[in-house]
Subunit: 361 residues, 2 copies
């Protein structure tokens, strides 16, 4: 039985391997990293010995020397939103080829917690940060991180300045497409529901809403701000329906709000998709599976994550390259909730795209 570990506390180090194959630790290091200064044969011997002894690379020690941790941090506002799962998967896919891995942190939409987390990432010496800024994050925060010398890419949202790198979905165009679609179907009183917090993703939607309605000669005065929950959506539609000239359609901030609105409509005896048009945003799994199937806009989370990862890698490698802003296009998905015909070609097509991932413990 080969002795698994040498003198010290259980960990197998380069030195242990070196002793085993009768080389210097330096040579072992080079061999393991594929440095061409060691012969192929030695490389093989070293690799085998490492395997045999149960060697574990110590990233922390390596980082101390190289300054690279091969680790990036991702901070999002709400882990529980299904959307972010995909986003992170996209980032991982992008950075994996570079040998980097990501750690996910949850800021819970709170600036204070966000800055705590940023500090932790700094102490841990991450190579870069992907941040989905909490509301009220100011430009100074981003600037400070940059000043720390840590590359940072903003994702989904951007703080006021937008001078840095960021990747976002095309919220404006998405909302415009929804509005145009509703107008084509004859709606004139279209409400925009949701979006309490001030950040770029909010005002981009508002801008799209205003632009589309204006283009069609409709006054864009039905913006109802509320939190992004089912409950709020349900409540909002209840209030809107009491007005003198209630809307006939609602463009919701996201799918979650739309589901709330649908529940609220039912509560008021109105059948969503027949008597009233509802649209969402994001195309979460549930959108296709609930009743009526929800007309929405797909924001390609995975692509956005991937782009953010790529951008961050680039910034890490070329800190002084010119800033880049990427807008990932969205796609309108028409289903029944906006009063579409029961069987449009799109509907069939989109249902095929669904994937069935387990969702609970």
């Amino acid at each position: 039985m080969p002795n698994k570990q040498r003198g010290h506390g259980g960990r197998v180090t380069l030195g242990d391997i070196a002793a085993d194959v009768d080389l210097s630790a330096a040579a072992v290091s080079m061999a393991l990293r594929g440095n061409s200064r060691v012969s192929a044969e030695t490389q093989k011997r070293v690799t085998e010995a490492a395997e045999r002894l149960g060697y574990v690379y110590d990233r922390g020690a390596a980082k101390l020397r190289t300054g690279q941790s091969d680790t990036i941090g991702i901070i999002v506002g709400d882990i529980s939103n299904a959307f972010f799962g995909e986003l992170v998967a996209g980032v991982d896919a992008a950075i994996a080829p570079a040998g980097k891995i990501s750690f996910l942190l949850n800021a819970r939409e709170d600036v204070d917690r966000q800055s705590q987390l940023l500090n932790r990432l700094r102490e841990h010496g991450v190579d870069g940060i992907i941040l989905c800024p909490a509301p009220e994050t100011d430009e100074a925060t981003i600037e400070e991180i940059r000043h720390w010398g840590i590359p940072i890419v903003q994702m989904l949202r951007t703080v006021a300045d937008t001078s840095g790198d960021w990747v976002s979905a095309d919220y404006k165009t998405g909302v415009e497409a929804l509005c145009e679609h509703l107008v084509r179907r004859g709606h004139r009183r279209i409400a925009l529901i949701g979006g309490e917090l001030e950040h770029s993703a909010t005002w981009q939607r508002h801008t799209g809403y205003r632009a589309a309605l204006k283009r069609n000669g409709i006054e864009a005065d039905l913006i109802y701000r509320c939190p992004l929950t089912r409950r709020a959506g349900r409540h909002a539609i209840g209030e809107l329906l009491t007005s003198e000239t209630p809307p006939t359609a609602a463009v919701c901030y996201n799918d979650v709000v739309a589901f709330g609105v649908i529940a609220g409509l039912r509560e008021n005896g109105i059948e969503p998709g027949k008597d009233f048009a509802v649209t969402g945003f994001d195309n979460v799994e549930e959108a296709a599976e609930s009743w009526p199937p929800l007309t929405t806009v797909a924001t390609h989370a995975r692509e956005i994550g991937d782009a953010a990862g790529q951008l961050l890698l680039r910034r890490i490698n070329e800190p002084d390259a010119s800033r880049e802003q990427i807008i990932v296009p969205t796609r309108l998905i028409v289903r029944q909730s906006c009063g579409a015909a029961a069987e449009t070609p799109q509907t069939k097509h989109n249902q095929k795209l669904e994937n069935a991932a387990p969702r609970s413990a």
Copy 2:
């Protein structure tokens, strides 16, 4: 203007502070850690200088020396499940007082990816791991981690052996409570829907189902296995309804499946909550806000996370303490989906418990 950084690559180190206050780096280290061997006055001077120079603690370097990284890893199967957000928040709350922080990794219910992630955590030298094992994880895996010398706590699910530390919800009792409730309301043909993958959380539910029905002299033969998605739930109920003696009630694996079943019932012209009873599990936000409000069992995610964090800390500090298994009780929440009276006291009470967290970017 005090010179922000000394010679090297921008990072302020203990040595820089030492130079500033005219002490040795060792003294500075001790001062910052509150070692009583340095005078109070010196401690103050050092703290101030650290602040002024913009010192950032280098956890990686410290870990190299001490062997402690003050970092723990959490691996879950599906980040996008809302449940896990709370779980992680609970863990964070538990470990924060010990000065530790957590990193969240997504195994996507895949054993291979899970073992990749475990290796990464090992390379990073985490102090401990909280694992929600992917299906088909075997005891050997857990044993190996323990062999690595890394404390590990299983959460929500456990692999076959259960000899280690773990924290779980009381799935068995929860399902029993649901079944008993349905039986009391007169149901005799009760289906259990969902639970394809083999792990403890699955068979605990099955055990509870069988126990409750047997106790009431009902044959427990309506177990329908399927993935944990809306789509699967919708499909499942469609199939079950075609049988000769279709069920009159469905106990679903979790809330997500229940929502699918509800959609499927509507599709078949059956009104959930009136013509057919449906129950869920987890009590996600949507349970109270959808229509009809869902009868379900609350699994206190935050508490579970908290318990797992505590347990891990204990294991880190006392590696040889006796193993502990914690079962966190659940709570039955009766709403309308099981055909309850429209306004039960529980319903009102539970709706008050809802919190309104934003759910999208």
